[in-house]
């Protein structure tokens, strides 16, 4: 009951948070000098053409009126119409979200699947060469800007060696021969469900490099924090007790040690998942991955307010839900919270 009340309270808090985010983003994007009508008509357009576009897009209305209208529409689930593409933003977000979800999920799984074991290994081999090597590797992940690693990885593995594709979700010429119906919007899932295994393989090839690049910073953080959490835990008395009663190191590590490190790991994983969204903007741009990041990039460069505000709302919603999931995870992982 206590748990349900907690979840309900957090969900209700979502509403004022999103309203605040919408107001801040709307205001900030309108404070940028000029307006999107200018970019849309181009530099050679006359004042008459420019004003006509402003009227058509409602940009000639007072800002307060625009803001109120926008918030009222958002409350009804209408995120407005893209100024540049002249399409409903909500529909486009739905289309792009699936691609970002696919990339983000793959990157998250990679960062957890690699980061956790590396962190544990680094803790177990603390201050020996495996630890040093792992820490050096993870230092790269937190220090190197993601756009740099994306460009270098692309240049090396695609441009120079041709081992992997340079961008996109699939090879268009392959798709022409093996069409994949759009069932869920998740390309790999749709290809698998329709039995197009060759397109599953092609999709994986295209997903691999952007996912690895996107995963690297998060993987690095997870590695470092897992190492720290494990080092703290394995110095505790109950670990010494476990050893003294005959538990193997493996059982200790994967049992009480890891379990007690879970709260810290959960926190970092939640932050890492949130960071993946930020990194996706640059990774999607470099690898031409048609996700929310690329959509946002196009919106920012063309002052497309509805797109910028809509995507920011979605990102904010993601952050809040991820944090909620992390808190739920605490409840599950830590009996003291359930019974205390």
């Amino acid at each position: 009951m206590r748990f349900l009340a907690f979840v309900l309270r957090r969900l209700l808090l979502l509403v004022p948070v999103l309203v605040l985010v919408a107001m801040i983003t709307f205001t900030a994007s309108h404070m940028v000098p000029g307006d999107p009508a200018s970019l849309l008509v181009g530099e050679g357009a006359s004042q008459e053409e420019y004003q006509a576009i402003r009227r058509e897009l409602g940009l000639d209305r007072p800002m307060v009126e625009q803001a109120v209208r926008y918030l009222a529409d958002v409350a009804k689930g209408d995120l407005g119409t893209s100024i540049r593409l002249r399409r409903p933003v909500a529909g486009d977000i739905g289309r792009f979200f699936a691609a970002t979800l696919e990339l983000g999920f793959a990157a998250f799984m990679l960062s957890m699947a690699v980061g956790l074991p590396l962190g544990i290994l680094a803790a177990v081999k603390a201050d020996r060469w495996p630890d040093h090597l792992i820490r050096l590797f993870s230092l790269g992940g937190v220090a190197v800007p993601i756009f740099w690693s994306a460009l270098v990885a692309q240049l090396l593995l695609y441009g120079q060696l041709g081992w992997l594709p340079g961008g996109g979700r699939y090879a268009e010429t392959m798709l022409l021969q093996h069409p994949v119906p759009s069932l869920s919007g998740l390309f790999l899932l749709d290809a698998a469900l329709s039995g197009r295994w060759i397109m599953v393989a092609d999709g994986l090839r295209h997903l691999f490099l952007p996912a690895v690049v996107l995963a690297y910073p998060s993987l690095a953080i997870i590695t470092r924090m897992t190492r720290s959490a494990m080092l703290e835990v394995i110095s505790q008395d109950y670990i010494r007790t476990a050893r003294s009663v005959g538990f193997t190191e493996r059982r200790i590590l994967l049992g009480p040690a890891l379990r007690n490190a879970v709260p810290t790991i959960l926190t970092i994983s939640g932050l890492a998942l949130g960071n993946l969204l930020q990194g996706s903007i640059l990774v999607e741009t470099v690898f031409n991955w048609p996700g929310l990041g690329l959509y946002l990039y196009g919106g920012v460069t063309s002052l497309d307010y509805p797109v910028v505000t809509g995507v920011t709302l979605i990102f904010s919603l993601n952050y809040v839900l991820i944090n909620l999931l992390v808190d739920v995870g605490y409840f599950v992982a830590d009996p003291r919270l359930r019974y205390g």
């Binding site: 000098p33 006509a52 992997l164 090879a171």
Partner: protein
Amino acid sequence: MRRSHMIVTVLALLAAIATPALAQGADEAAWRSSLTIGVATEGDTFDPHINVTSVSAQRMHMIYESLIQHRPDGEFVPLLAESWSISEDGKHYTFQLREGVRFSDGAPFDAEAIRFNFDRLFSLGRGPVSQFSLIDEIVVAGPLTVEFVLSEPFPPFLAVLAGSEARLFMSPAAVQANATADDPWATAWAHLNTAGTGAYVLAEWQPEDRVVLAANPNFREPWTEDAITRVTYRLVREPSTSVQMFLRGDLDALETVPLQFRDLLAQNAAVRIVTEASIGGRHQLHVFVNNAHPPLDNLAFRQALAHALDYDRIMHDGFEGQARQARGSLPSSFTPWFNPEATQYTRDLERARELIAASGVATPVELQLVWRSDFREERTIGEIIQSNLREIGVNVTLVEQTLPVWRETIWGGNAQIIFFTQTGRFADPDSILYRYYHSTEIRPNGFNVGYRNDRVDQLMDLARVELDIDQRIAYYHELQQIITDEAANLFMADLLDAFAVAGYVEGVEFNPNYSVVFEAFRLHKDPAAR
């Protein structure tokens, strides 16, 4: 999951990712019949009657057609019209339409279809409608004969009809079939669908990803076996990614070549780069001078500025060799209108100092030079100008502005000296020169930042209604001479478009009268040259 199962799964995934067979791509026939063009910008609509951007016009170029078009040398040639005549008073333009042309939905193209399209354009009152404001009446003189009656003679009208914005004609049947009570002109449908007479139709538009055109089954010319039946405009925002994709063969062409990669591509024997000045889009970059702002209203002072600039260094360092020094206010490729005898300023510091002394203007003089943040080369050029003008006692402060703010600076009459890219709506000197140099364009929201000369006004007014082409040429040559002699602006550069195609793509031709467009129907891909 057991460890062994996990290992097998991981190995299978890696094998899938690394499978070399996948890298081979499609078979040869599929490769030959598709053309993939890398583009850096995305259009915003497929309705030519509401379009205001040159990018969208480029995407629609192979879908919608005009009555006539420009040959690369500027001559008008038939397209949907096979012949035309102009009345002696210059107000009646009669076109004989090509027989047997159909829209992509099978409906016939005829004179009634033309009138319908202009009815739609004028009713919507958007997009390129201002280009056709002189049309008083459209007369359907026969099934394949249409007459445009103008309110006054306007010799550039043929250039208007040959321009990108005149590629307008969509199937009336398709519009009517998709019209609703709230949307009688089917704007919602036309935004995302096409029904033109061109060789291609819109097959797919995935925003932030690609536009795909498919062969129009009702195109008037037959499709050969080796024809390109699928064209993909692939949006690639990151310049290095687009160049890599082009070099690896994932793109057959690049619509624009990023400046920083031009030399790299030029050195590649398997790549053909076309670098030329075109009228379409941005064709010249100058520093516009507010002739009404002291001391810029002083002729000798302006000429001094013009003589102080190091044009060679500007071309080399500012444009990295991708521009030619301008000789006045029209690009040199714009024949026959360009005046090759117009004054071209060269760096002569001694002369510049003499002119400063003769001007009576006391130095030092403080000026603000505005540059646009989306054109980084303007900053580099601005710094060169800054150092050049300092030598004659003129201190320049560089001011960065975004496009919207830059526009407000121009329209508000607040500019002193400001970088300005000349563009034209259609390939006629009137389209380019009138808006920048006629005194009636010095107004709030005009693009003339302060130049005024009665003789230039007179020449432009005469040229606008003169039907004799040789006389028109003479008028424009004279006014170009005046404009350059008076250093109305600091004339910088003819901007060179650069696009790249793979060596195996045959038939690409550059037409300086349009922005970069690919007539894919006329192209072929040679597997032997791959």
